[in-house]
């Protein structure tokens, strides 16, 4: 049985999406390979075409680029950045990030929906970064989102699944892939998200701030795979008290 992640009709074998903006470019390749990531995000604003230290020169050619619109404060700006990404051959995938708060970097759900609608119509595979809200997720799907990317905790906080219950609702209700983005700090948290049934996990800071970055990428890759397998296997029930091993209703005869 193949278990693939399908985003906008594109199949992927790995469910680990790697952020690239917080570690040295020279190790990007090693990190991608160790983590087994097939999708790598990059801030388009960092792309330094024809210039020094251009991140695009360091991402291995076999991975799918997921440029993000970081820096955009409105839907209009996000749309402009997405189109620039396409112009410089970053492909059709776009992670919509609209952020109007420099302190917590929380996404603006309202502007995100607007940008998603325009970009989906424009033929992009749109993956919006969002605050986990069921109504917003539904609107994003109606607007043409190929996946939704709810935050687990504030970006960079490494706090794990602070929004667990709300993400779980999205998992139950939303028909497109749910990709947990932002705030995952440990492989065990990534594993927990996967066990819960999210479709993929995106990580940046937790990998980038490790002492051995490629090794941490490997740990995340393994945790994500393990969590996925646990989800597919079907977790046993977890009970707070002991359960009688003989069934209570075993006496029934006909």
């Amino acid at each position: 049985m193949t278990d693939q992640l399908v985003i906008g009709g594109h199949p992927f074998n790995s469910r680990f999406i790697l952020g690239s903006g917080k570690f040295s470019l020279e190790i990007v390749k090693a990190v991608v390979e160790n983590g087994g990531a097939e999708i790598v995000t990059l801030a388009l604003r960092r792309a330094n075409q024809g210039g020094e230290e251009n991140i695009l020169d360091y991402i291995p050619p076999n991975v799918t680029l997921l440029p993000n619109t970081s820096g955009a404060r409105t839907a209009e700006e996000a749309v402009k950045i997405a189109r620039l990404a396409r112009e410089i051959n970053c492909g059709n995938f776009i992670k919509v990030e609209v952020i109007k708060d420099s302190k917590y970097l929380f996404p603006d759900n309202y502007e995100t929906i607007k940008a998603t609608e325009i970009l989906a119509r424009d033929g992009f595979v749109v993956m919006p970064y969002m605050y986990p809200d069921l109504n917003v997720a539904r609107d994003l799907v109606s607007a043409g989102a190929a996946a939704v990317m709810p935050l687990a905790s504030p970006i960079g906080s490494n706090k794990g699944l602070s929004t667990r219950d709300f993400i779980e609702i999205l998992v139950n209700e939303i028909p497109v892939p749910i990709i947990v983005d932002a705030g995952i700090g440990r492989p065990s948290q990534a594993c927990e998200a996967m066990e819960m049934g999210v479709d993929a996990v995106m990580c940046n800071t937790a990998v980038a701030t490790a002492k051995n970055i490629p090794l941490m990428a490997r740990a995340f890759g393994q945790a994500i795979e393990s969590g996925r397998n646990a989800y597919l296997a079907g977790l046993g029930r977890v009970l707070n008290q002991a359960e009688a091993s003989s069934p209570l209703t075993g006496f029934l005869e006909d």
Binding site: K22, S24, A72, S102, G156, N158
Partner: protein, 384 residues
């Protein structure tokens, strides 16, 4: 004969007044900040927290925090890495003119100083910009002295337009403007504005800013707010540490930035930390002297107060200091710096504002960043 000075609170003709509560809030809190009453325990409490209160911030700036510098640094590295990874932004300043109408006692551009004055023509500017662009840089900071006569807003606008053709990011460090003038420069291609209050102590402020537009304390104070009203993306703050009581000035700077961020949550916030160096071998050990230790304390306190803010380390500091603070607390470093007017491609047309301590080229600084396991970042902005 005593010279009669103007009231530093009185606006001069042409200066637009905006309604803002921030000045009063900052000054009131600074008045109440008594760092002599802060204990080691207050510092320890502050170090336990993820989000600093005003009191915690004051504790980290106090003399009681001196023995905790190492702990502060350890915490700062974590915060800096969390928010910026190992990225270090590179940029260079370009002084386009050094005419000045201000009489500020500490400044090389002081209008009373007999220095060589000059300004770049557009053609000269273009040659400078081209030469800088060849080093690979994508971010530039345009600077002038304060002279609406010699370097007016239109002249600066022309410089910004030209710079925007060569650079992804154009910042300006010029005299304070009205909001509509900031909007004009934004349209020309500038997105970031740096204005330094120098000192937040009004008495000291008027003692050192004797005349000229800069004498007007509140107009300068509200610059960042007017810049944001004019549509700028980010604003930088700074006190000239050592001019007044550096602890109080740093406290005020942090509050100023915090209140602006609360009111304009989208604004990108930056800090710079220029200082007046203490005289070497000065037997009188002035508690308000800003040695490297005190400078680092201020930088660390800024970082812990606002983990998401950019902090720039200037070439006024020696290479060894700069190399160690990047990645720990600073996120941006200048390179290939000339502080005279022009001087990147042709001979300088005017004298320097101050002397630099780190003359390294862009490629040398680039290599140093790599050697420290950090990542030089040339481009980090899209003008949309």
């Amino acid at each position: 004969m005593a010279v009669k000075r103007t009231d530093p609170l009185a606006y001069q003709p042409g200066m637009a007044i905006i309604t803002s509560e921030i000045l009063d809030k900052v000054l009131k809190n600074v008045d109440n900040y008594d760092y002599s009453k802060i204990s080691a325990r207050d510092v320890e409490e502050a170090l336990k927290k993820d989000h600093l209160s005003m009191k915690d911030y004051g504790a980290l700036l106090s003399p009681a925090a001196t023995p905790y510098l190492e702990e502060m640094a350890k915490k700062a590295v974590i915060e800096t890495r969390r928010h910026f990874g190992n990225s270090i932004g590179l940029f260079t300043p370009l002084y386009i003119a050094n005419y000045c109408e201000n009489n500020c006692v500490y400044c090389g551009f002081n209008c009373k100083n007999k220095i060589r004055r000059g300004k770049l023509s557009l053609a000269e500017m273009e040659r400078e910009l081209e030469a800088i662009a060849k080093t690979g840089l994508k971010e530039i900071l345009i600077l002038t002295g304060e002279s609406r006569h010699h370097s007016g807003v239109e002249y600066i606008g022309a410089a910004v337009k030209l710079a925007a053709e060569y650079f992804a990011t154009v910042g300006i460090e010029i005299y304070p403007l009205n909001a509509d003038e900031y909007a004009y420069l934004k349209k020309c291609g500038a997105d970031f504005v740096s204005v330094y209050q120098e000192t937040y102590n009004l008495d000291k402020y008027q003692q050192v800013h004797l005349s000229g537009p800069k004498r007007v304390f509140p107009y300068r104070f509200d610059s960042q707010e007017r810049a944001l009203m004019g549509g700028m993306r980010g604003v930088s703050f700074g006190a000239l540490l050592g001019l007044g009581d550096f602890r109080k000035d740093a406290f005020a700077t942090g509050l100023h930035a915090s209140f602006i961020q609360q009111k304009y949550p989208h604004a990108e916030i930056g800090f710079s930390t220029p200082r007046l160096r203490p005289f070497i071998n000065n037997a009188d050990n002035n508690p308000n002297d800003v040695h490297e230790q005190q400078l680092l304390q201020v930088m660390l306190a800024y970082r812990l107060l606002m983990p998401f803010a950019g902090i720039t380390i200037s070439t006024r500091e020696r290479a060894g200091f700069r190399d160690h603070v990047i990645g720990m607390v600073a996120t941006k470093i200048s390179a290939g710096v000339r502080v005279g007017v022009g001087g990147h491609e042709q001979e300088e047309k005017g004298d320097e504002q101050f002397e630099i301590s780190d003359p390294r080229s862009v490629s040398e600084v680039h290599q140093m960043i790599l050697n420290r396991g950090l990542q030089p970042v040339y481009r980090d902005y899209i003008r949309v």
